[in-house]
Symmetry: C2
Subunit: 473 residues, 2 copies
């Protein structure tokens, strides 16, 4: 019902719902103040008068006035009436809107995300139910800032077994993905007076942003066929490495290089941050153990569930050198962020039950098949393109013949509805590798993989045919 507030001297329309009259009156008055229809200092009608005018109980009006006085919208003095409190009117906001989601390309072979369709929804829910059933109430309170003990115990055991990490549960710190872990370490390095962190010259731009956001400079480590080169490390407080499978070039850090970095760390007091982002996925042999075990006091090992389960879980873990542990935990408390205990308990259960290993084995097989299909497709459509970095992981680097235009190929693929990325986007500083595409073959849903490969093949074939070829149909 639409009512007019006739006796107030103000042109004020109040829409009151038929039920919940008092709440409706409050909302209408708030809106009127917000809109500027009721000006600061305006006197409101006596509750008795407004009640009669609106045909509602006087009590409802008096209670609404009281509520709005308590909230600061109105002021009242006993016996002398009710006014609109001082308030800066501002334009009425648009009603609650769903923000636009970022566009999802039709086919997507960009690296960094696994096949999200392979997330074991049923196994996760079953583990969540079992974990919640078994959890005593107190585990649902504020968690230990290092993470829940059952999860840290399960992780220490898993990491020792599957990745050769040398760690005990008390040195595991659960975090919310690699970027969070890196931010915590940067926080500690900055507090210790560090000024720079070395990162591989080809790598994640987001990680460089995290480093810089903590006031640290980024140094660039060259990457060659043996992985990162331990050069220009002089003033670095830490070196961030991807030893198992360089991201994105895909090489494994050579044994000699591993030792060189460890020697640098032990000699200089520097820290190696080992980003083991896809260490579980190795196809030609058993996974290469983490380099952390070579010097657990000088290496922070970092792993996540972002590739093995789902990036959106935002669940990761650090194996922290004992001398650094307190500082990392303090930094974590200061930053205030923690993973949900429900997810922590679920993950612990999945690890302890073997469900996590099962998921890894299934995924490894599926990704290996995709890798082989990718290599075959490239060979068929563009034999001049070399497929590298495929011994492990969820992505490959397609090295284009000299003279081919990386950006043009990316654009050509986009015109076919396929998102791919050139190697250039991962680079900082001058190019030391020729034109290439970074292909995340793990990403598409299973049903879309064939079509995505076909589009990639077509784009490569067109690029190979040379710039004289027409635009994509």
């Amino acid at each position: 019902m639409k009512k007019t507030w006739a006796n107030s001297g103000l042109d004020l329309h109040l829409d009151l719902p038929a039920s919940r009259v008092r709440a409706g009156l409050e909302a209408a008055l708030r809106d009127a103040v917000r809109d500027g229809r009721l000006h600061p200092g305006a006197r409101l009608p006596p509750s008795r008068a407004l009640a009669a005018d609106l045909g509602i109980a006087r009590n409802s009006v008096a209670e609404a006035y009281g509520q709005l006085v308590a909230e600061g919208w109105l002021t009242a003095r006993t016996g002398s009436g009710t006014w609109v409190a001082p308030y800066r009117p501002r334009p009425r906001q648009a009603p609650v809107l769903a923000p636009a989601e970022s566009a999802v390309p039709r086919y997507d072979l960009r690296a960094g995300v696994p096949d999200l369709g392979a997330f074991p929804r049923r196994a996760w829910l079953a583990a969540a139910r079992a974990a919640l059933d078994a959890a005593p109430d107190h585990l649902l309170g504020y968690p230990d800032p290092r993470g829940l003990p059952p999860l840290r115990t399960a992780l220490a055991s898993y990491l020792a077994r599957a990745r050769g990490v040398s760690v005990t549960a008390d040195r595991i710190v659960v975090c919310s993905g690699f970027a969070h872990g890196l931010a915590l370490i940067c926080q500690v390095l900055g507090a210790r007076g560090g000024t720079a962190v070395a990162l591989e010259q080809y790598g994640s731009q987001a990680h460089r942003r995290v480093v810089r956001a903590h006031g640290l400079r980024c140094l660039a480590l060259p990457v060659d066929g043996d992985g990162a080169v331990p050069r220009a490390l002089g003033r670095a407080a830490a070196a961030v490495l991807t030893p198992a499978h360089q991201f994105p070039l895909g090489v494994t850090l050579a044994p000699r290089r591993r030792r060189d970095f460890i020697e640098w760390a032990t000699a200089s007091g520097g820290l190696v941050i080992e980003d083991d982002y896809d260490g579980e996925f190795r196809y030609d042999r058993q996974p290469i153990g983490a380099m952390q075990a070579l010097a657990p006091d000088h290496v922070v090992y970092a792993g996540t569930a972002s590739k093995s389960l789902a990036s959106g879980l935002r669940l990761g873990w650090l194996a922290v050198p004992a001398p650094l542990l307190d500082e990392v935990v303090t930094a974590k408390e200061a930053a205030g962020a923690q993973a949900s205990v429900l997810d922590q308990l679920t993950m612990a259960r999945l690890l302890a039950s073997g469900g996590y290993d099962r998921q890894i084995r299934h995924a490894r097989l599926a990704y290996r098949r995709r890798r082989d299909r990718l290599a075959a497709a490239v060979l068929r459509h563009a034999p001049g393109v070399e497929v590298t970095g495929i011994a492990a992981g969820l992505h490959a680097v397609l090295r284009l013949p000299a003279g081919q235009n990386e950006a043009g190929l990316v654009a050509g693929a986009a015109a076919r509805g396929l998102a791919v990325e050139g190697l250039a986007g991962y680079r900082t500083g001058g190019a030391s590798h020729g034109p290439a595409l970074v292909i995340g073959y793990g990403r598409p849903a299973g049903h879309a993989f064939t079509a995505a490969l076909a589009r990639l093949g077509a784009a490569l074939a067109q690029a190979a045919a040379g710039p004289a070829a027409g635009p994509p149909r």
Copy 2:
């Protein structure tokens, strides 16, 4: 089976399991290097010889050597043998241990945690299942740093309806509890050149630590019967307030004070950070709306699921003024932490289905009953103690008669197996309130509440009887 490595010239015992021989050999060799039993530079026997000695296939030995070379433990040159790589031996670590859990007191009436037994496990799991069933795969990828759109939409609508917050979904930023939200704002304030933040003189020490960890000074706002006093705000970049129910004193911020803080903020460019930690729980009347709506461009509203569901969820939300939004999102990306998309989707579903409101209503009723029982127990056992701050929230302040010893009472309760806290622990600077206990009546499990109250009553009665009374039995 226990095997002796007889022909190596080293006193080396390798425990090899009967199955998975190669992996066992690798682990044994890693251990031997780690322990220092195999010294850097020591030459390993040829694979053929070791295989014969151990009675295993030569291939297994060769593969194990290859693996350890790749991991950096050994070095090899074709045709000239295998050596232990340079390595600093370090003491063998203890096997994986479960860290000790912090002691859980038998009865606990400390504030800050709700009844974790009331967490709606079944409803949460059902919502999680429904949310996962409905979620398209891409929602399981890296989330929008502001939080998932479905959750932000549901929160904007809930906050407008239940808390009178003036916000649209695009200005909601999902975070991991209040401390995380506060850390993000402090990050922004520091980057803008802010030097100090005003916090209520009685409040959470953890929040003060978060402020200081971001290089900002803490100013103390006095708290009287009308809530925080807008004094000594001069250089503050922000004021952190608990308007609905001051923590821990329990008063509601008076209307005049609300306007004073808003005036300060608009005049000085300062920010009000509204910590609405238990705004849903008001017993004598409908909840008092958030002060954010008075000036949405000058107030950051912060809410969490820590009191309404479970602290361990680590799920919170900010309604951010438009001019601050980009900086907050940038700070969040740099800090790398995000809430799990599974929890975000579940929470969105719980909000949209009405399940969250249902939980709030149940909890409000239950807490109100507890509050009444607490007040009655205190009146019965210690009529000289005044129960205050109980119009809302999950805790009360028991003001002790002048001369009573707060710390002694806390110790007396502890001797009875009951954890309680004195007001002093929440204070910074000189005392402006007399001795008091802060009692979190929401915390104990339902079945333990009666016993906890009885212990509290006994401790209060003993304290009232004076220091002459003997120690607790």
